[in-house]
């Protein structure tokens, strides 16, 4: 019996095995709140680390002169997939570290959360590897639904459970939208294989626009594009911080992987009737999201809206179907993930101390907790795209990509979005540095969270300077056989 295929599935297998161990530990210790409950986090981190190590083997071999693509019919482990493998596993690790201060609010379901997290990571990996519409749909469901479920784990809070049910419903709705779009594509092309889709789409069909719109909405919902941005921001919710953070970050990755594989890859080689629809959705989101951020009085929601505005640039860059366009999207993701993990992790840590994230709570934080406020200020500056931080380059590349795609109006909207985002961040910085100090002194995050936030903040600070090598990696990952005509 040939078991070589097991090697190809090693990262996904390790994650699922880790999930099984987490489930076992949870079953054993859930009632007693025993010492194993505290160890589950480290089991999950170990699983993520081992899966990352297993991916490195593929990574190294795929960067040789003739990188091998390892086929499984509906899955492929190419450089594009490996990029997402690495990004997902590192992002999940960062989420676990940064959000560790908030994990106690999940008790006694901490083990269930880590189980769902690892399953969700496996889902993102499958989504990134999928070369078949059915596999992609399955992967996306596996990535999205566990995190939507995890948001309902704080069962003692009725409001949180209601919001989680709403999140689960919207996740289900977005998946249905994606599957309808995928079914239409399959029907039009006569195949579910993404490799064969371009050949099947020989003429311009109005139905293709509908299909692409449904796919863009279904996958874009994970990025929080219009009209899903209210849901993604968790507006008015009291969702548990750690699942919300994990769901946000993994959702960004899963949605981006689907959009790139299916739209830029699968449909990119066919008639480009879908590009304007996608550009319009992106255009609305890049303007609406920072405007909504301006209206918020809670920093958490402001941050999520600004992240959505930044992630909408993924959608905005899709119409430029080229290696550079794809690489720009991948670099943008690299920049957005540590920002999201560190900012939301810091806010989770503040919330864990019983302090709110409303502007009244954070006023004058600089005088009360300078390190905490300084960290928030640096991360917010990164979110605003202050040069030479990573966010600046991500925006710059997105604007150039839109211009190359012939979408000058979208480039202007992106610049407008940057200006509004800058104003929003300025207002929050003024709140943090306000001379009026009214509130308790806040402690720094716990040691584990501190390590995660420090690493993510380091990434935010250095990714701009390291744009050369990072973009090099992104452009190699962007040269997949599925990308480009």
């Amino acid at each position: 019996m040939n078991l070589a295929f097991l090697e190809d599935f090693a990262p996904i297998g390790i994650l699922l095995l880790g999930a099984a161990i987490c489930a076992g530990l949870d079953l054993r210790e859930a009632d007693s709140h025993g010492p194993a409950l505290g160890r589950i986090r480290w089991v999950a981190l170990l699983a993520l680390l081992l899966a990352f190590a297993a991916s490195i083997g593929f990574w190294k071999s795929s960067f040789g002169p003739t990188p091998p693509d390892i086929e499984h019919g509906s899955l492929v482990i190419d450089r594009f997939a490996l990029f997402f493998y690495a990004a997902t596993l590192i992002a999940a690790g960062a989420v676990v570290l940064c959000g560790s201060d908030a994990e106690s609010e999940l008790d006694p379901h901490r083990g269930v959360f880590y189980l769902l997290l690892l399953v969700s990571c496996a889902g993102v990996l499958i989504t990134a590897s999928a070369t078949d519409l059915v596999a992609m749909g399955a992967g996306l469901a596996l990535a999205v639904l566990p995190m939507a479920l995890a948001q309902g784990l704080r069962k003692t809070d009725a409001e949180a459970v209601r919001t989680a049910i709403r999140a689960l419903s919207v996740a289900g709705f977005s998946l249905v939208a994606f599957l309808i779009g995928a079914a239409l594509v399959a029907g039009l092309a006569g195949t579910t294989s993404l490799r064969a889709v371009p050949a099947g789409l020989t003429h311009v069909d109005p139905l293709l626009v509908v299909a692409a719109t449904m796919v863009a909405l279904g996958a874009g919902a994970q990025l929080g594009i219009f009209p899903f941005l209210w849901w993604r921001s968790g507006a008015g919710s009291r969702l548990p911080a750690l699942p919300f953070l994990a769901g946000t970050v993994l959702g960004f990755l899963a949605g981006s992987a689907v959009l790139l594989r299916l739209l830029a890859g699968g449909l990119g080689a066919g008639p480009s009737t879908w590009t304007m629809t996608v550009a319009v959705l992106a255009g609305i989101t890049v303007v609406v999201a920072p405007c909504l951020a301006w209206r918020q009085r809670r920093l958490g929601q402001t941050v999520v809206y600004l992240l959505i505005a930044q992630l909408a640039l993924v959608l905005a860059s899709l119409p430029e179907i080229s290696r550079q366009g794809t690489a720009a999207i991948l670099y943008l993701l690299l920049c957005a993930i540590p920002l999201a993990a560190a900012l939301l992790g810091l806010l989770a840590s503040i919330a864990a101390q019983g302090e709110g994230d409303a502007s009244a709570d954070l006023r004058g934080l600089w005088a009360r907790s300078p390190l905490l406020a300084g960290g928030l200020a640096v991360l917010l500056a990164g979110l605003a795209g202050l040069p030479p931080l990573a966010g600046f380059f991500a925006r710059l590349l997105a604007v150039d990509t839109a211009l190359h795609a012939g979408l000058g109006w979208l480039a202007w909207l992106e610049l407008l979005s940057a200006v509004i985002g800058g104003l929003v961040v300025l207002r929050w910085l003024l709140t943090l540095f306000d001379a009026r100090v009214d509130g308790p002194e806040l402690a720094l995050p716990g040691r584990t969270a501190m390590v995660g936030i420090f690493l993510c903040a380091g990434a935010v600070l250095s990714f701009g300077v390291l744009i050369g090598p990072l973009f090099g990696i992104a452009s190699r990952a962007g040269l997949s056989p599925l990308i480009g005509p």
């Binding site: 600089w366 940057a418 104003l423 910085l429 003024l430 050369g468 090099g472």
Partner: protein, 508 residues
Amino acid sequence: MPTDLTLTFIVFAPLIGALIVLSMPVRSDLHRFRVRTTALFATALPLLVALYDLLSAVVSPGAGAIPQPVVDAPWLRSFFFQLDYHLGTDGLNLLLLVATTAVFTAVVLASWRHRERYRTYFALLLVTEVGITGTFATQDLGMFIIFFCWPVLPLGLLLAFGETLGSRAAARRLVVTQSLASGALIAGTLLLLLRSGNTTLNFTTLSTVKSLNGTPGLIVETLFLAAALARMGAFPLHRWFVDGVSVASTPVGMLLAVSSLPVGGYALVRIALAMEPNGALQVVVPLLALALLTLFWGALSARATQELRRIAANSLVAVGGLVIFGAATFSETSLSGAIYLCFAYVFAAPLLLLVVGAICDRSLLTKLTPLAGAASSAPRLRLCFAIAAAALIGIPLLVGFPGIFEIVIAGLVAHRFVTAFVLLGVVLLTTAWWRVGHRVFSTNPENAEVAAVPDARGSEFYSAWVLAAGAVLFGLFAGYFIPYTVQGTALVSARISAVAPVAPVKAK
């Protein structure tokens, strides 16, 4: 001998200083003294290195045309454009770079008695310096954009921290205007690359590629001009500057001055004219009109208003009109004059604002009428005011004279009629400053109830001394520096001449 690391040190030493300052405690007076001393070192060291290492290049024969010293390393490849870490000094930027390092030292000295948000204030001040010196030092358009955008948020925060009436509104206006200016610069650059098919952002390469014709060239030029003029505070984009200076504390006002016209004027010549000469030729008349509007608007507003800080701010806006006129004349002499006037402004404008700020802060008065005779017994302030105002209207032997002289001489050859109006504007500007000087510094027995403003002393005096020394020395020895600047502007002028239907007249 300049080394590759010289410019990197000059640009980024303040950033290291900012990080050190942020990590220092501020619990006692001794701690605070250490913080400001660190900030002083972080600004003075680049100044000393710049004076020692860079100014020697000025006397080298033929220097100024080619960037030297240079550090050039690839940064971003495999995208639609290439980005390089490329720093270098030539005739266009060297003097501005040196002057900026001097002004930041003066600003730290002027902030010696600052008490609020100690670490944040000095850290932001040092971070701002990186942005402005970087703008002057870079030889790559991509890096220029980065440094151009860099100081917007730090300046906005510094302005808002003033917490005077209207400071937040002024900060918001600054951030919006400068963000839009940065956006225009980014959009113009990307359009230029897209239309020209060029991928490198190197200044030298960009100034040799074929200029865009017709509408694309006009659009790119308009975007570049919008960015440069908004940063300069030219009419009608001057409100951020006037509002900012009128509500800012004295050192922050000085920062606003050094980050406005010098950076904008430099961007006007280096980017708007050199990168897109075809487009520049299409906007000569609007540029001349804008120059006159800015000059007259600033001068008349300064003449009409009663608020002392607003008078200073408006009169500084008017100086921008002279720079625009010099740039719009296109000859190497006028361009050299525009750059030299920007250089003069770097010393004179902060000096003027320092004096005005000292008078307003000590008297707790802002209006001109109640201030009559208030500074009559302050000879140092009077001297500094005289030097600053005289430098900015081109009185001989001061740093502003060579710039304005070159602009007027070249203007008389190319646009005689407009030059007459420009001279009229300079006269108006002179009357505005004469009014201030006469009112505030001369003895007025009718206003005896106003307490006399004490004279400049301590760190404030040293700050003024640094700026006044620059304004006098670079005026006295302008003969050494003008040829160097002309070498730099000759390339820009030659590029415009190459695409012009009739070559612009070269003034002798």
